[in-house]
Amino acid sequence: MNDDQNQHYYKSLTRRIIVTMVVVSVIPLLLISGTIRYFFQVSYQEKVQDHLKVLIKKHRQNIDTFLSEKLANIKELGESYTFEELSNEAVLAERLKVLQEVYGRSFVDLGVVDEQGIQIAYAGPFKLRLADYSKAAWFNAALHNETYISDVFPGKRGIPHFIVTVLNEHAGKKWILRATVDFDSFNSLVENLRMGETGFAFILNRKGELQTKPRTEIVASTEPYASFLASNDALGEDVLLTDMPSKSGQDVIYVLSRLKNGDWILAFQQTAEDAYSALYTARRIALIIFALGVLCIVAVAVVLTRRVVARIMSADREKQMLNERVIEAGKLASLGELAAGIAHEINNPVAVMVEEAGWIQDLLEEEDLKESKNLEEFKQSLKQIRLQGVRCKEITHKLLSFARKTDPRPRDVQLNELVDEVVNLCQQRARYATVKINTELDPQLPPVHASPTEMQQVIMNLINNSLDAIDGRGGVVEVKTSTQDDYVVLEVGDNGPGIPEAYLPRIFDPFFTTKPVGKGTGLGLSICYGIITKMGGKISVSSAIEVGTTFHIRIPING
């Protein structure tokens, strides 16, 4: 996989995790809040509507009581007094005064009207004696009903009012006792019915004329008044509650009920927003909480996912690096085996060569070649052949002793000898790197119990690390042995660039390397650490930037 594909893979992984987390968290939230909202809304609306209905019923009762009370007053008056008595304006005025004393200002005036519609007697603030009502709408109705309550009308006085009439008979002729009811006192009955900021009540008659002063303009011909006015069926106790948008687009709740045996309508209206304001507030708060919750979920999902994906990315990278290094280590191991094989194959021919040269040397001793003038030259050459053969042998033996499978069996070893051996082996490389390897070995060093091959490996790794650190700039590597208490101490130090502090805690980790891929396995120091720890010793490092690095190894003498 190349980097682009990787980036794409991680991006889509991030996306998928985030979407899954958000969906899984938000859906239950949505379902719960949706369900609760729905049921709460329904029950709350029912409650509000019931409340409004009850309110309207109660007010209808009040109004009906008010009207029937007025009617009863007048009726009683008509029955208690004769036509002659009431035609006397002084008596009439007396009665009005009594009524006003008992019922306050609700009665404005009293009048007696004859069959022809002429008001033959009048008591009140207006001059209406002998006024002709024969053309008035109410007169006709009053003449045919025992009792009658008119609609509100301005009448002769030009002030909105309504009248209550009682039909009586005197000497075969009908006469009507009429009383004017003060509009304001009636109006206040309805006007006081207010809810919230927009809720108010008013009364309409059958023709859709307003009987009270509403707070805002009412057009009675609009729905739902028109249909309610048109229908006759819902008489009695029924209260109609409807909910429809008004012209301004707001939802309005209408509560309608019939009054006065269906002649009038008590109407109440309130915008839904006002009626359900508590519900709407709760809804708004819930919505804000929900939005915040979703925001939190999304934020957490994003942050968490980024972190997780970053982890996955670094784990993948480490895995890849590990793979590369395992392959590298495998290559090195097979290289070592190859070297061992080659060393072995070379050993046999070299042995033959050395023996043959030796044989010639033997022969030279006994033949009569002693007089030959080149005898010395022969001897010199043979000596060289043997010498070089021995050198080959040394090289191959060293190669073998490092490449062969380690001999982990511990025995008493003299560390100084191992150091000498390894230093000799490294001398060649050091020369190329213009590094001088100095040894400072304690001749009194007691032997330690260790595997010689493993110890060689440790010393070799440390010296090689030092040579790598100095990296051709020239320098000095110091190898020291000494005794400290019950420990043999081996120190390998260099005057290279030092190890940055940040790397120090990790240098013994397997596969930790600062060398480019393919150059180092990152195994050297971790192998050293493993070997030294296994034999009960300790390995530590002290390093200063631009000064150098020293590794200290302490091995117990009686390990």
Partner: protein, 146 residues
């Protein structure tokens, strides 16, 4: 130490090495027999019971050095064996020592070192033989005296 009259059998598949070595050792007064593998070595030992020391290569085709050594030690307990290794099989050389080999040498080796090892082996064998002779003599005398 005197190596003259030592009877030495060299068992090694590297013929050039065997040839050169046998010439040089012969020149030093050793009676050298050669064999290029284990089986041949057994035959030589059977034909020449006077052989004192065997120089045995660890790695050979066919029966390997360790197996040969085991066989020799079983059949001829008095014959001393010096192991010769041409490679890193120090472990097998150590195994050989455990099985009763006298010593081991790494190829290529100095002739002087080899000669001295052979002399030591021969001396050990001689001492062994003398002890056995003495023991047998005592036994004989005891039996006769009894």
């Amino acid at each position: 130490m005197d190596i003259v009259d030592t009877k030495l059998l060299i068992v090694d598949d590297e013929e050039g090495f065997v040839a050169a070595l046998s010439k040089r050792l012969s020149a030093r007064g050793i009676d050298v027999y050669t064999a290029s593998n284990g089986e041949e070595g057994f035959d030589k030992l059977a034909d020449h019971p006077e052989i004192d020391v065997v120089l045995l290569d660890v790695r050979m085709p066919g029966i390997d050095g360790i197996e040969t050594l085991r066989h020799i030690k079983r059949t001829y307990p008095l014959v001393e064996v010096i192991m010769l290794t041409g490679h890193a099989t120090v472990e097998s050389a150590i195994d050989g020592m455990k099985l009763g080999a006298f010593d081991y040498l790494m190829k290529p080796c100095e002739l002087e070192e080899l000669a001295s090892k052979v002399a030591q082996a021969k001396a050990k064998k001689t001492a062994h033989q003398a002890k056995i002779l003495e023991a047998t003599g005592k036994e004989l005398r005891r039996q006769r005296g009894a």
